[in-house]
């Protein structure tokens, strides 16, 4: 037996079209909302992890310099760290390089001096100064005037506390936080939850 469909029933009725449009609108609206939310979420997560990687980078930079440092001090507002490091590599213009230009870029042989606090090993007559500072939303590392941006973000990437203990322990404690895009009603925990802590000990006897 073959069923026949009446031609009168092929077309959509107005209520059907209206209903279909309404359902389609809801579906497309949901898809749009979903994709937008996904995009926002993706951006937030991408930003979170990207900024977290920058936190690790700051910590690694600081640890490297503190370990080889001779003096580490912090500013009163805990936003600037100054590290004095030995001049291990001979640079152009150094006294050794003036005498023998081929020494530029090579390691320097240290000299020893006895001081009231014991033996002191010196790489050259001068030292290098490395300053970590905040400029807007960036963290800058300045070594003898040469500025390197080691972290930047569209968000607030701010060292919350940067503390250097001068007495006894001879270490630099750092904590770095940032403000994630997604927060829970502006709760303080949204920032504190991003904190990365670091403690780096001076390998050299502190001179300052």
């Amino acid at each position: 037996m073959r069923l026949r469909i009446s031609r009168k029933r092929i077309a959509f009725t107005l209520p059907e079209i209206t209903l279909a449009l309404a359902v389609s609108g809801v579906v497309f609206g949901a898809i749009l909302t979903l994709s937008t939310s996904l995009q926002k979420s993706f951006n937030a997560i991408d930003n979170y992890f990207g900024t977290h990687m920058q936190q690790i980078r700051i910590v690694d930079y600081l640890s490297r310099d503190v370990k080889r440092g001779l003096i580490v001090t912090t500013s009163a507002d805990l936003q600037t760290v100054t590290v004095t490091i030995p001049n291990y590599i001979i640079q152009a213009g150094d006294p050794e390089a003036v005498v023998n230009p081929t020494l530029v870029g090579t390691a320097r042989t240290p000299t020893m001096a006895y001081t009231p606090s014991g033996w002191q090993v010196n790489y050259g007559n001068t030292t290098s100064i490395v300053v970590y500072s905040i400029s807007g939303l960036s963290i800058l590392r300045t070594e003898n005037g040469t500025v390197t941006t080691i972290a930047s973000s569209t968000d607030q990437l701010v060292p919350l506390t940067t503390d250097v203990e001068l007495a006894n322990t001879e270490c630099a404690k750092t904590s770095i936080t940032f403000q994630p895009i997604f927060t829970s009603g502006g709760a303080a925990a949204s920032r504190s939850g991003t904190t990365v802590y670091s403690t780096a000990y001076l390998r050299n006897k502190r001179r300052g």
Binding site: M1, M53, I56, Y114, T154
Partner: protein
């Protein structure tokens, strides 16, 4: 029965494919992002840190060998694992840890202390950690145009060792050549300076029990670089006052009976000394320490042909003045008479004497002469037998070589009469000091007993005097090229 399909059914397939495509794109993007972050955080950061651990482990291995040069000289830098060329020692490459870390070190003797002749060592270590994961940098492209993030800090060698290719294998610019690496890796290099530890950091230092001195005794200090000794410990206005209160006593056990006036610090290991008016400095009852056995140095030159024994009155003038590093060396089977040591003209003259027996002789050290006497046995003399004409304690140094067996006792007895100036390093000896001598110097021993009203003056110039008894790392720098 057949049912005819409606013509609009094909849209479902297209919609489903589009949905899968969109979700796949989102998933791929998320996966790519996560993989990149994971690659950096788990592989590159880890390798960066582990390579430093490896380098520092190499430094520790080298440090242990440097210490052996004084604690166990025959076994320092053993061959064939270490390769020695002149004053340079190359370690084998050590692989350790679950992540295949490797380390190697070059140790070179790069400096001699002109005053003591003690060698300083420089240890250049490199540590390498393989980088697992994707062979790509983890540069954060949001750092700005032309500003690289991670790759400025963490230098990864993917194909060749960038350091060797740029600066040569020793980092001195000699022979830079592309050196292939077995796989992606990070290498970090550190340089540590290892300095000798000299023995005379306190007036009296004993690892065992301490009794002394007499109730009217005193221990103070001065600095011979500022002139001869005079008492200044009670006069804050005196320009040498700060050097007058370093007559410290260090005791390695709780067994300590301290009498007399002490112008300096006092430390014990578990003792019960309480602050009192007889001790001007800091009292710390929680300072453990050890003094390793002393072994005969192996870096002395060949001994002189004569004399080989001194049992009567003998006067020697070395053939050359020598240096602290290369003194004129005498090997004596006995030293029981009177030995006078003269300078070579007016030159600073350096002499080392090894007595393979007991030390009972009268020693007369003339001005400009610097003598180190190493003895295997015991020492039994009177104060007047220690005749140091300049009164500079550093010019007459006694070293008691520790017996091979810890069960063998060793002693130093110094009886009256006589004042003297000398230093004693005898970490295995029981020291007994009788009488009321006025002495300048320092003493390191196992146990100490002194019942007289001694006036003991520690010379702060002894801080840097004496044979190396240990080594410590005094400088650390990383080669960040």
């Amino acid at each position: 029965m057949r049912t005819k399909r409606p013509v609009e059914e094909g849209n479902v397939l297209i919609c489903a494919l589009c949905t899968i495509l969109i979700i796949s794109l989102i998933g791929a993007n998320v996966l790519r992002n996560c993989t990149t972050r994971y690659n950096v955080s788990s592989s590159q950061v880890r390798s960066w840190k582990e390579s430093l651990f490896a380098a520092e482990a190499g430094g520790d291995i080298a440090y242990a060998e440097v210490r052996r040069t004084v604690l166990d000289p025959p076994h320092a830098f053993p061959t064939p694992s270490w390769t020695t060329t002149g004053a340079k020692h190359q370690s084998p490459e050590t692989t350790f840890g679950a992540n295949g870390l490797t380390t190697s070190t070059v140790v070179d003797l790069f400096y001699y202390d002109p005053a003591t002749g003690n060698p300083w060592f420089r240890a250049r270590s490199k540590g390498t950690a393989p980088v697992t994961g994707l062979a790509r940098t983890g540069m954060d492209d949001r750092m700005g145009a032309g500003v690289k993030g991670d790759s400025l800090l963490r230098k990864i060698d993917f194909k060749v060792d960038h350091f060797v290719a740029t600066y040569g294998p020793n980092g001195d610019g000699v022979g830079p050549t592309p050196s292939p690496v077995p796989g992606p890796q990070i290498t970090r290099r550190i340089e540590q300076i290892v300095a000798p530890v000299t023995p005379f950091e306190a007036a009296i230092k004993c690892t065992g029990s301490f009794y002394g001195l007499g109730s009217a005794a005193q221990v103070d200090s001065y600095n011979s670089k500022n002139g001869p000794y005079y008492f200044a410990a009670n006069n804050p206005a005196d320009p040498n006052f700060k050097d007058a209160r370093s007559g410290s006593v260090e005791i390695g056990t709780p067994v300590a009976e301290v009498n007399g006036m002490l112008y300096g610090n006092l430390s014990t290991n578990g003792g019960t000394i309480v602050p009192n008016s007889s001790i001007t400095g800091t009292i710390d009852n929680n300072v453990p320490f050890t003094c390793p056995p002393f072994k005969m140095p192996t870096d002395l030159p060949p001994p002189q042909a004569a004399p080989t024994s001194v049992t009567s009155t003998v006067s020697i003038t070395p053939p050359v003045a020598g240096t602290a590093t290369v003194p004129t060396y005498y090997l004596l089977s006995s030293l029981s008479g009177k030995l006078t040591i003269n300078a070579v003209g007016g030159a600073q003259t350096y002499v080392a004497i090894h007595v393979t027996n007991d030390m009972t002789a009268h020693i007369d050290v003339k001005p400009n002469v610097h003598v180190k006497i190493f003895f295997d046995g015991n020492m039994d003399v009177k104060g007047r037998d220690i005749e140091n004409e300049t009164n500079l304690a550093a010019n007459l140094q006694y070293y008691a070589i520790s017996p091979a067996s810890p069960a063998t006792t060793q002693y130093i007895h110094i009886d009256p009469p006589g004042d003297f100036a000398a230093t004693f390093y005898a970490p295995s000896a029981d020291v007994v000091l009788h009488g009321n001598p006025d002495l300048i110097g320092a003493m390191v021993c196992k146990t100490f007993y002194g019942n007289g009203n001694t006036s003991w003056h520690y010379d702060r110039a002894l801080d840097t005097e004496g044979d190396a008894v240990d080594y410590r790392i005094v400088s650390y720098v990383e080669d960040i090229r």
